[in-house]
């Protein structure tokens, strides 16, 4: 069961990066570099997506003492998240499409007042 997420430009950027390859998990720094967002913007978005059921996070399976570094946390979209994010991004693209493109359908805007 997924909840609706308020769609902002920042959220759309994160979703677009995650949708490039939904099976591949991405850690925080990687997403920061891919979206150009600072940590203070990215992590609240990841948490919101996770609490809405669109995202799941898994810890890297390593032994920190052997590797010499802490384990990373990888984020990837859930199947429900893939469907919801694809739909939201498609709707956003349609909304942002130039107004002239609507002419192809023959639709005319309603007159004012």
């Amino acid at each position: 069961m997924t909840e609706r997420v308020r769609m902002t430009t920042s959220v759309a950027q994160v979703l677009a990066v995650l949708l490039e390859d939904p099976e591949t998990g991405r850690y925080g720094l990687e997403l920061m570099q891919a979206t150009g967002q600072p940590s203070g913007t990215l992590y609240p978005i990841l948490t919101r997506l996770q609490e809405a059921g669109w995202l799941r996070a898994d810890w890297e399976d390593i032994d920190p003492s052997v590797e010499g570094r802490p384990a990373r946390r990888y984020h990837r979209l859930t199947p429900e998240g893939v469907a919801a994010a694809s739909a939201e991004l498609a709707a956003l693209r349609a909304k942002l499409r130039p107004r002239g493109a609507a002419g192809a359908t023959g639709f005319k805007p309603a007159p004012g007042w």
Partner: protein, 679 residues
């Protein structure tokens, strides 16, 4: 150094983690520690860059708002104006409060060092209190407009920049009234210091406020504001040339000068060039302290979490938006354009009253032109070479009235596009007209009043706009917009009638900005009104029609007032009469085309000649009604006696209003909704 930066980053992360929901903290702490470790061991990156990235990573998280608090960024386009005007509002409030406080003790208090120090402290406390109150009130207004969500901490930092610019503008205005430009570097140094130090301070205070630690935030602001003021004053002292006091080896001499003149900017009236640092120091701390307190009050209020009731309550704008406003007019740029026109008109009014009036036609010469036994006195030379009071005596009166009407129409249109009531705007317009009459009757048309009248007019407009948000929405916005559209269209051609006063002299740029600028704004207003009320689908892009039509009065008006035209027409009386008659005769054709555009009909070009002749007849009636209105009402109120001039604007406003109202009633009654047609 590396160890220090890592400790700072770790502290920042710890502070960030504490703000997140408890069930998430442990995992986030581990995740961020891992990322911080990765940033500290990036291959191929030099140590200072790694440190910087670690600190930025941690600081960004420490300043961010965790999910659930649902912060929004500050909406710059809509609110920068408010922030920019905040210092002006504080200035007016400070003047109102401090001038009586300084005048009261006269006569019964002996000025000793102790009593002077007490007065200074008292004045500063009043100033700080006013800045805090104005700052928080404005912040409340911003909050209500943004659906009850607090602003992000970073947004609070950015919000300080318009405040600093506003204070700098106040400083420039105050200097301009007394032409005190030497020493302007000090104000720039102060503004640059503020721009560097105030945003992070405001962000820090906002972070505390956002976490619910408002007492600590206020304490920090109370300590930081005087400290920052002292630091900036000292920076100015260091940059100033060597003074006798400094040369005498007294390093703290400058402290004795601070705060002697706490009233903002009014002290510039006493200044002369050149301006040494000893003269600047008593004045500038007032600016700096006010800016700091205003900014910090904003930050504390903007970032404070709201109660759940406030967060879920609809905003005033949402609640008051009637449903029958068309889609094109719902665009925020629609009412913002109208508001920009109102601002321009108010500034044009202030310029006309305080700068053009004494330079073109001394308006106080009005009652002195006629002797008690009814004889006309000879014309007097005006401020500008070759101009006499004869040109300006009527023209300035018309321009002042035009600017007030234009500002009122712009504000009314903006209110209609947002579904707001019109009563506050009408009250504001009447207040502006009353101020105009008082200034003229008192003989105070002097450039010294320019900044005060401009700022006061803008504040009056803001108050009217603000008051309209608290009332119930209007019922028939379309009818109101049609009335204004027709009235604006009717006023545009006649605005060029005063060409007759210029003869073969070139109109100066300041005069052109008013005489051509106002009809240009009215044209834009009328074109926007046609787009919003027309029964035909609007052609896109929507800006094209207003921008194209605005070129006609803007470019044509400048050419029309050119002195070469006067030379050409001098020897040809018949051509000259036609040229003067064109603006008057065009009013009716323009109105007919406007009404046709609103109702979706076409007007044949063959109708232009009869419409033009009808326009001339209507113009005669307009001038007659204007003469009646002006001689019975406006002139006696403004000058204390009637006069022999033949005005145009009062009659045009009355006629256009009547025409617009009748048109609006008929079109609104005959309107039949046209559904959107696919295919």
């Amino acid at each position: 150094m590396n160890g220090v930066s890592q400790r700072i980053a770790a502290r920042l992360l710890e502070a960030a983690v504490r703000r997140w929901p408890a069930h998430l903290r442990e995992e986030l702490r581990q995740e961020w520690a891992g990322e911080l470790h990765a940033l500290g061991h990036e291959a191929g990156v030099v140590a200072p860059v790694r440190m910087w990235r670690q600190l930025r990573f941690a600081a960004s998280l420490a300043l961010a708002r965790p999910p659930g608090a649902d912060a929004v960024s500050l909406p710059w386009l809509g609110n920068t104006g408010w922030l920019f005007l905040a210092p002006l509002l504080t200035l007016v409030a400070a003047l109102a409060a401090l001038v009586p406080l300084q005048v009261l003790p006269f006569g019964w208090v002996t000025y000793t060092p102790t009593s002077t120090a007490l007065f200074v402290i008292e004045n500063y406390l009043v100033e700080v209190a006013l800045a805090a109150v104005v700052g928080t009130l404005l912040a409340r207004r911003l909050l209500r407009r943004r659906a009850g969500r607090p602003v992000s901490v970073a947004g609070c930092g950015w919000a300080t920049l318009p405040l600093i610019a506003g204070l700098l503008a106040v400083d420039v205005l105050a200097r301009g009234t007394n032409q005190v430009w030497d020493g302007g570097l000090f104000a720039i140094v102060a503004a640059l210091c503020l721009a560097a130090l105030l945003p992070p301070l405001a962000a820090g205070v906002a972070a505390l406020s956002a976490r619910g630690r408002r007492g600590l935030a206020i304490t920090l602001a109370a300590v930081a504001a005087p400290a920052l003021t002292l630091a900036i004053s000292y920076a100015m002292v260091l940059l100033a040339p060597q003074t006798p006091a400094a040369a005498a080896g007294r390093p703290w001499w400058w402290l004795a000068y601070l705060g002697r003149e706490p009233i903002l900017s009014i002290s510039y009236y006493e200044m002369d060039d050149p301006l040494p640092i000893e003269t600047v120091l008593p004045v500038l701390p007032g600016f700096v302290l006010t800016a700091v307190v205003l900014a910090l009050a904003h930050a504390i209020r903007l970032a404070r979490p709201l109660s759940s009731a406030a967060a879920t309550a609809p905003t005033a704008t949402e609640a008051s938006q009637p449903s029958d406003i068309p889609t094109v007019a719902r665009d925020p740029w629609w009412h913002r354009t109208a508001l920009a026109g109102a601002i321009y008109s108010v500034l044009a009014w202030a310029v006309t009253l305080t700068y053009l009036t004494p330079n073109i036609g001394v308006q106080s010469s009005w009652p002195s032109r006629v002797t008690p036994d009814g004889r006309l006195l000879p014309e007097q030379p005006a401020g500008w070479p070759q101009w006499t009071s004869e040109e300006g005596r009527l023209w300035m009166h018309e321009l002042q009235l035009s600017a007030i009407v234009c500002a009122a129409l712009c504000l009314l249109c903006a209110a209609a596009y947002r579904g707001r009531p019109v009563l506050p705007t009408l009250a504001g317009s009447i207040a502006l007209l009353a101020v105009n009459m008082v200034v003229v009757r008192g003989g105070w048309t002097t450039p010294r009043l320019l900044p005060w009248l401009a700022a006061g007019g803008l504040i009056l407009g803001i108050a009217a706009w603000s008051a309209s948000t608290r009332r119930r929405p209007i019922g028939r916005p379309r009818r109101l917009v049609i009335t204004i559209t027709v009235l604006a269209a009717f006023l545009v051609p006649g605005s060029f009638f005063p060409r007759v006063y210029v003869a073969d002299r070139q109109a100066p740029p300041a005069l052109l900005l008013v005489a051509v600028g106002l009809p240009t704004i009215l044209t834009i207003l009328a074109a926007m009104g046609v787009l919003a009320t027309s029964t035909l689908p609007p052609r896109r892009p929507l800006w094209r029609l207003p921008a194209t039509l605005a070129l006609l009065p803007a470019v044509g008006g400048v050419l029309y007032y050119h002195d070469r035209l006067g030379h050409v027409l001098t020897g040809q009386p018949s051509l000259a009469i036609l040229f003067i008659a064109v603006p008057l005769g065009l009013a009716v054709p323009v109105v007919v085309w406007t009404i046709a555009a609103i109702s979706g009909r076409r007007v044949s070009l063959f109708l232009a000649p009869p419409l033009f002749l009808a326009g001339l007849a209507v113009a005669a009636g307009t001038i007659a009604s204007a003469a009646v209105l002006a001689r019975l009402l406006l002139f006696p109120m403004e000058y204390g006696q009637t006069y022999d001039g033949l005005p145009y604007v009062p009659g045009a406003v009355a006629g256009g209003l009547l025409l617009g109202y009748v048109t609006a009633v008929r079109l609104d009654r005959a309107r039949s909704p046209i559904p959107s047609v696919p295919g």
